[in-house]
């Protein structure tokens, strides 16, 4: 006899942790870093605070012992607004709890990233998570807890309140099994690429050997925080619809439509319900299962809904991405294209593409840096839509960019719902709408590169020309003087000078984004040192 039993979300993810990317000790360590850092960045950005993120991985026990995998203590601390102490137990001890229910562009989607890291730590080391948070800078609240996997609820082991040192923010310490040797590369790539799109953040990473990597803030500009938005009717499925109906307090379907969906007014609501063949004054809770299915079906087919607006999106923007590129890649030429917002299946999205050419850090050959809602995507590149566009849809010869040219393409897709192919959030599905936007943006940056290269080429040609004039004109002057029997040389130098002046006027702009880079290095390193001491 088969028994059916309900399992809790915690248990589900415990059993299926591969889905969330915690596949092996190396990847799990990387995922844990990523999830916690992203929670911190989201918290800071939402509160309008320039992020200061400190990350440290310390080997548990004898550090000289080199066998991997082993237990590591991971610490992620931020200067965000802190978490209300009432929410802490559930936010970190319950899967599917978080501030990310509403539709808004944020790094996390499933409200479980941080909790998954906690859960993974717990199941591999059986050690509790320690959360320290302060919302006012005066007092900080310290929690130590485990997750009751079967019940999907937190078990609080310790709860203290101490005096804070004037800073708000949250610090999370987890113990987990990891393999730093095999994940060091990815973790470093993650920080480097995060700095690329988050040039407004200070990132400090101390690895188990004690090496400190700092990525300094290069701009004070914070991207505008995205607004919350209601779901667009095209993006709702039967399950979501039923949940919305269940939570609804409106008396009629018409009211329900206008208050629960994105950009639906009275007229559209009436028109739609007529289209669906359902009475506008029907009470939503009276909908039969059949009617619900009919309605969701109609939601998909009805063509007169307004497209989703993009106020809920928060692109990185030309300035921040441009700054990040200059700071991290120091290129010869770079350019950024921000496409206008678009939508797929009722979800607004926007594509940004940066192109980086030459300079000191790029090596020959094409590189692709992928981002989704500002998260660097480091795995499964060849399954990603951007990879497909670059390698299958772009004719590079058209732009006269040779295969071995030192070129990096940065693609950033922001959306209220990024169509990842897996929960692990590593590659994006090739939705035609998104594909088209990436294609258009890549073509535009390549056009700009092509223009730059041709200008540069003609500049070099002019320089060659000047050199040749410089070699031969004096000889011509001398021979003509002798032939003509003149006493002085003719004034040939003005010809070279004129050519030189013409060149300066035509010089191509190497950077299409100009921003100040640099700043207070000494003070930063001092504060980093203070933090390291503080957190150790």
């Amino acid at each position: 006899m088969v028994t059916f039993s309900e399992i809790s979300p915690s248990e589900f993810f415990y059993r299926n942790r591969d889905l969330a990317g915690f596949t092996n000790p190396a990847r799990a360590l990387y995922m844990a870093v990523r999830e916690l850092v992203e929670n911190s960045l989201d918290a800071c950005e939402l509160a309008g605070v320039l992020p200061d993120i400190y990350v440290r991985i310390v080997a548990d026990g004898n550090a000289a012992e080199s066998s991997e995998p082993r237990a590591y203590r991971l610490t992620v601390a931020d200067n965000g607004p802190g978490v209300d102490p009432h929410h802490v137990p559930r936010a970190f001890g319950k899967v599917f709890y978080g501030s990310k229910y509403v539709l808004r562009q944020s790094r996390g989607m499933f409200g479980m990233g941080g909790t998954m890291a906690v859960l993974y730590g717990q199941i591999t080391t059986n050690k509790p998570v320690k959360v320290t948070t302060s919302t006012d800078g005066k007092s900080k609240h310290i929690f130590e807890m485990l997750i009751d996997i079967g019940e999907n609820k937190p078990i609080i082991l310790r709860r203290d309140t101490e005096e804070a040192n004037g800073r708000t923010g949250t610090r999370v310490d987890i113990m987990l099994e990891g393999d730093f040797t095999r994940s060091a590369q990815k973790i470093n790539d993650y920080f480097k690429q995060t700095a690329l799109v988050g040039s407004y953040a200070n990132l400090t990473f101390v690895d188990p050997i004690g090496r400190i990597s700092t990525y300094e803030r290069a701009t004070e500009a914070l991207p505008p925080p995205p607004k919350e938005t209601l779901p667009h009717p095209h993006g709702v499925d039967v399950e979501a619809f039923k949940r919305m109906v269940k939570l609804n307090e409106e008396k009629t379907l018409k009211r329900f439509m206008t208050t629960h969906f994105h950009r639906i007014g009275d007229r559209t609501a009436v028109k739609f319900l007529e289209f669906a063949g359902i009475k506008p004054d029907l009470a939503p809770e009276k909908l039969t299962n059949e009617q619900a299915v009919t309605m969701v079906d109609a939601l998909q087919r009805f063509q007169e809904f307004l497209p989703p607006d993009s106020s809920c999106l928060s692109p990185v923007g030309e300035q921040i991405l441009g700054t990040g590129i200059l700071k991290e890649l120091d290129p010869e030429f770079s350019t950024v294209v921000v496409r206008p917002p678009s939508s797929y299946s009722g979800f607004p999205f926007l594509v940004e593409v940066g192109l980086v050419y030459g300079g000191k850090t790029l090596e020959p050959g094409r590189k692709l840096f992928r981002f989704a809602n500002r998260i660097p995507l480091l795995y499964d590149e060849s399954s990603d839509v951007s990879f497909k566009v670059l390698n299958e849809e772009i004719d590079w010869r058209r732009y006269h960019v040779p295969d071995e040219a030192p070129v990096a393409i940065i693609t950033h897709i922001c959306s209220t719902k990024v169509p990842y192919k897996t929960v692990g959030k590593e590659y994006i599905a090739d939705r035609p709408e998104i594909e088209a936007e990436i294609r258009n943006a890549v073509r535009e940056v390549l056009r700009r590169l092509s223009l730059y290269l041709s200008k540069k080429g003609s500049m070099e040609a002019v320089q060659r020309k000047i050199n040749i004039y410089g070699k031969y004109l004096p000889l011509i002057a001398k021979f003509s003087q002798e032939l003509a029997g003149e006493k002085r040389l003719p004034k040939y130098k003005q010809l070279i000078q004129e050519e030189q002046e013409a060149t300066v006027a035509e010089a191509p702009e190497a950077q299409q984004v100009t921003v100040e880079v640099g700043g207070k290095e000494s003070t930063t390193s001092q504060s980093e040192q203070a933090k390291i001491e503080d957190y150790s």
Binding site: K465, Y472, L475, I476, F479, S480, A484, L495
Partner: protein
């Protein structure tokens, strides 16, 4: 006997060349001084611009021109080299020195305008000829190869150190080399009644030994193959200044025939030059029909010979019936013979028997 003074004395030529070079210098100088890129324009020497002038009976350059500007990055180097060459020539003329094509190639290296190879420098020398309208000999650049002259002719040198010195060209039995000094010398005295241009040195020596110069009152010239321009120029002067008819004796093959034709009508490569042709010159032999008539020992025509004959048949200079018929005869008999082939009838046969018959042609010409 004629003592007519040459129209183109060394002095006159020098003056003309100096004037033209000076004008070129001023033109370039003024352009530079006025902030303009200097340029020169001269007739194009491309194949499509070489046309046959029936009146002049030689190839000339057509109306299309090439412009070489110092402002053009592809032109500035050859432009500089051209100007250097002008400067170098001017010095040669001023200092009354001569140079050779090879010399010019090496001299350029001292002025930072070195040529890639001699072909390039020869090419530019030809450009300067076109630009100035003068043969390179006029600006004292001579080829390496030399042909020779022998006969009862007295010349007076005009070259430095020899001005006024006279020489009887029959004084040395090997003949006198036709170099810069002889080309620029004035003709003073002769009892000759004709000039015989001979393709090869062997027959030239035979003619001297057989005293052709006395028996037929002929000035003998060894062309040494296709005669250099200075030799063609000398032939023309002998005809024009001394009123002597010119007869040409070559091997009986398309190459020999073409030596005669170039003396008469010039070459395509010198289409930019005048005064190198002697249209009234007479091709005495050896003809294709002579091979048959005198039953000369012969070799079969090679494929290259035959190809060359077809080329000549298409050449406007060979339109004349007599020439055309001879080319056809070559094709018919498929044979060729050398001048020396007459030796089968004895060493003096060519002088005593063949030559008198051929000289009749000159009288009728």
């Amino acid at each position: 006997m004629s003592k007519q003074k040459s129209k183109t004395t060394a002095e006159a030529r020098k003056e003309r060349v100096e004037k033209v070079l000076n004008e070129l210098g001023h033109q370039v100088y003024n352009d530079l001084d006025g902030s303009r890129f200097p340029s020169v324009t001269f007739a194009s020497r491309s194949v499509s611009n070489i046309v046959y002038d029936k009146k002049l009976q030689q190839f000339i350059l057509g109306s299309s021109t090439v412009k070489r500007s110092a402002g053009n990055i592809k032109h500035i180097r050859p432009f500089t080299q051209l100007l250097w060459l002008a400067y170098f020539s001017r010095k040669l003329v001023d200092e009354k020195k001569t140079s050779t094509l090879r010399d010019v190639y090496y001299s350029a290296q001292a002025f930072d305008v070195e040529f890639q190879d001699q072909a390039e420098s020869d090419e530019l020398i030809t450009d300067l000829e076109v630009l100035l309208g003068s043969a390179r000999e006029e600006f004292n650049v001579f080829p390496e190869e030399r042909s020779a002259i022998f006969g009862n002719l007295t010349v007076e040198y005009t070259v430095p150190g020899y001005e006024g010195k006279k020489l009887d060209l029959s004084s040395h039995p090997d003949g006198m080399m036709i170099g810069p000094a002889l080309t620029t010398a004035e003709f003073r005295d002769t009892d000759a009644e004709m000039v015989l241009a001979i393709e090869k040195g062997g027959l030239f020596t035979r003619f001297i030994e057989e005293k052709v110069h006395e028996k037929y009152k002929a000035i003998l010239i060894n062309c040494a193959g296709q005669p250099p321009r200075s030799t063609r120029y000398l032939l023309r002067r002998l005809h024009q200044e001394m009123k002597l008819p010119i007869g040409i004796l070559c091997d009986a093959d398309p190459w020999g025939a073409h030596i005669a034709m170039v003396i008469k009508s010039g070459s395509a490569g010198a289409a930019h030059l005048r005064d190198l042709t002697t249209p009234s010159g007479v091709w005495l032999g050896v003809w294709a029909s002579d091979i048959v008539k005198y039953k000369l020992p012969s070799d079969p025509l090679t494929e290259i010979d035959i190809k060359r004959i077809y080329e000549l048949k298409a050449d406007p200079r060979y339109k004349d019936k007599m020439w055309h018929d001879e080319l056809d005869t070559f094709l018919k008999i498929k044979k060729k013979s050398e001048q020396e082939a007459f030796s089968r009838y004895g060493l003096s046969y060519i002088v005593d028997t063949y030559l008198p018959m051929k000289l009749e042609l000159m009288k009728n010409a």
